[in-house]
């Protein structure tokens, strides 16, 4: 087992950033620490890197106790959200930094830098300064720089958080492919559930300083441990005191006999291929999502009556009080491209 986190506590004044966190991160995998901002995931990453120290608890990296080691002795690669490029050094010198510190022979450094710059597709930018690169290129440079020291673990703190949506998506795919090539144990922090679901082998959901669930993307999505995990991984709606995914609801225009509820359509919004249906069920708002074709077959109209039940195999989790109402509004995001149905 690669990283062993045991009973870590961390406070900033009165604020509890991490509350008795224990976690095992397996070797050679891509693990995501997922959670809302302020949930403690970045703090945990920084404690693993040694950039922050825990109040209590221990950290082991590849079987070696690292709790009291300074960052430069932990052999971890760290990638920052805002790149932390060495502004006065060229791309090549940035990548070479860790090797120069380790006093490796010059020809070895040169060969390694060339190899890494090819790996991150920056070979033609070797002599540029970081200020002459785009955000995505800078982050790839930072990644090459971290990989140069052949780290035991690679830690990435919201690595794509400062990039625009398109570059973000590209780099996400690229990171996945890179990891399949390099196989270094990688942990990255993100608040974007899509990013975690798409890239990670394993996801650790962290909220309010505690770990909510650890598992593969499928496990987390199909068997969420609680309502928080369920609502954080995707849109949910509340039906009969339970949480269910809007696309897991079966809608019928006549009574199918086993319906859980009957409601009136209050609003229809079409976003591309999907139609978002908002229903009023005994004064409660319930959201459902159907495809364009289904909506047409059902002949959905505002004011119409619908019978609802979860489809077979739907994920259903009991809703508890701690879930804020705002968490349920996932479906109600009025995209600019939303078009009312039937106009």
């Amino acid at each position: 087992m690669s990283i062993e986190v045991r009973n870590i506590d961390k406070r900033f004044g009165d604020f509890i950033a991490l509350d008795d966190v224990s976690l095992t991160i397996p070797s050679g995998q891509l693990t995501a620490l997922l959670g809302p901002s302020g949930g403690g995931k970045s703090t945990l990453l920084r404690i693993i890197a040694g950039l922050e120290s825990a109040d209590t608890g221990t950290i082991q990296i590849e079987g070696r106790d690292a709790t009291d080691l300074p960052p430069q002795k932990r052999n971890v690669g760290f990638v920052f959200q805002h790149y932390a490029a060495f502004k006065h050094l060229t791309v090549a010198r940035n990548v070479a930094f860790g090797l120069e510190i380790r006093k490796r022979p010059k020809p070895e450094i040169r060969a390694k830098v060339v190899e890494l710059l090819e790996l991150v597709h920056l070979d033609q930018f070797a002599d540029r300064l970081p200020s002459q690169l785009s955000g995505g290129q800078r982050q790839r440079m930072a990644l090459a720089r971290a990989l140069a020291i052949e780290p035991t673990v690679l830690l990435l703190d919201e690595p794509f958080g400062a990039l625009d949506a398109k570059v973000r998506k590209e780099l996400r795919d690229w990171l996945r492919r890179l990891h399949d090539e390099v196989h270094v144990t990688t942990v990255f922090v993100t608040h974007d559930q899509e990013e975690a679901l798409e890239v990670a082998d394993e996801i650790v959901v962290i909220n309010e300083g505690r770990i909510e669930q650890v598992g593969s993307p499928d496990e987390l999505y199909d068997q969420p441990a609680n309502d928080f995990v369920m609502s954080f991984l995707g849109p949910v709606t509340r039906l009969d005191g339970n949480l269910v995914r809007p696309h897991d609801l079966f809608l019928a225009t006549s009574d199918p006999g086993d319906a859980s509820a009957v409601g009136t359509v209050t609003r229809l919004v079409r976003v591309g291929f999907e139609v978002r249906v908002e229903l009023d069920v005994a004064g409660q708002s319930v959201q459902a999502v159907v495809t364009r074709a289904e909506a047409r077959n059902l002949d959905l109209r505002e004011g119409g009556t619908l019978w609802i039940r979860p489809v077979a195999g739907a994920v259903i989790v009991e809703a508890t009080e701690r879930l804020a109402v705002g968490d349920l509004d996932g479906i109600d995001g009025d995209g600019a491209d939303a078009v009312p149905v039937g106009r």
């Binding site: 040694g50 430069q72 920052f80 805002h82 490029a85 060495f86 502004k87």
Partner: protein
């Protein structure tokens, strides 16, 4: 941050062409702003000319009224050459001390949290607001050989501060203390700690991180601070005069020599020495402002 500021003028979008209404109004607005710009320029240039450029240039003019004879006279006067040498020695020592402590205190102020930080920060500005004469008197009270707090003990140990070079260095260091710090602190704040953390995670220890990452980042702030300190140190007069005792050929610095020659009706020597002092300071600032922008653009 610097990048954004640097590129902003280029990014200023041209007003949309082809829209009738703004196009008609635009020339008038532009004409007015051009006129205003020129007016402000004129005011600033006039102000600086009468306050700075003209008086200083008169010193140069007086110096070279009879060709190089004034400079020759001054430079063959042993009391003046001594004063110039002493000034250079004192200024270099003061700058060196302020360089080391200035960078150190800046790091302390920006990178560490401790009690009394605001007080320290306020104290650092004190030398700018207190009259150098007061500084001189205060130093005499503490280090004076006969009745200062430390003075007698130091003198018994064979170390004279007041009426000697160490006192002049102290007074000069005191008055130029904030200059390096005030240049370095904002830059240190702006570059942040991420690059340093990245260096640490890549295996650099504290000293390597400082030398390879922090220092290059604050290099130009340090250079500018040093130049300002040097210029200020060369010109120090009030505090230095009180602690030095102004003994010709022993503790008299260049500024004191200027005053004395002027009062002794040796105007030519006074002007020549004053010219040399001004020339060095101007040269320092010109050199730095020529090399600095090029480097900034590269970043």
């Amino acid at each position: 941050m610097a990048d954004v500021l640097a590129t902003r003028p280029d990014r200023q979008p041209a007003l949309p062409v082809g829209i009738a209404a703004p196009r008609r109004r635009r020339p008038r607005r532009r004409a007015r702003s051009v006129l205003l710009t020129w007016l402000f320029r004129l005011i600033v240039v006039t102000y600086l000319f009468f306050l700075v450029a003209w008086p200083v240039s008169l010193v140069a003019q007086k110096t070279f009224e009879d060709g190089f004879s004034a400079l020759d006279t001054a430079l063959s006067d042993p009391s003046i050459t001594f004063a110039l040498k002493l000034t250079v020695i004192v200024a270099l020592q003061a700058v060196l001390i302020n360089l080391v402590f200035g960078v150190g205190i800046s790091l302390l102020l920006v990178r560490y949290e401790f009690r009394g930080k605001r007080l320290l920060s306020a104290l650092i500005d004190l030398p700018l607001s207190v009259s150098p004469v007061v500084v001189g008197l205060a130093l005499v009270l503490v280090y004076g050989g006969r009745d200062g707090w430390f003075g007698p003990a130091l003198q018994d140990a064979g170390f004279q501060v007041i009426f000697a070079t160490p006192g002049i260095v102290m007074a000069t260091t005191f008055v130029s203390l904030p200059l390096v710090i005030r240049e370095v602190v904002p830059v240190l704040t702006e570059i942040g700690t991420e690059q340093e953390q990245a260096a640490r995670s890549l295996g650099a220890n504290a000293a390597q991180t400082f030398r390879r990452i922090t220092l290059p980042g604050i290099k130009w702030a340090v250079v500018y601070g040093v130049v300002l300190s040097l210029a200020r140190s060369l010109g120090e007069f009030g505090a230095a005069k009180i602690v030095s005792g102004n003994f010709e050929g022993q503790t008299q610095t260049a500024t004191m020599a200027v005053e004395q020659k002027y009062q002794d009706f040796q105007q030519a020597s006074a002007y020549a020495t004053a010219f040399l002092l001004a020339a060095v300071s101007v040269a320092c600032i010109v050199v730095v402002s020529i090399i600095r922008p090029k480097q900034e653009r590269k970043r």
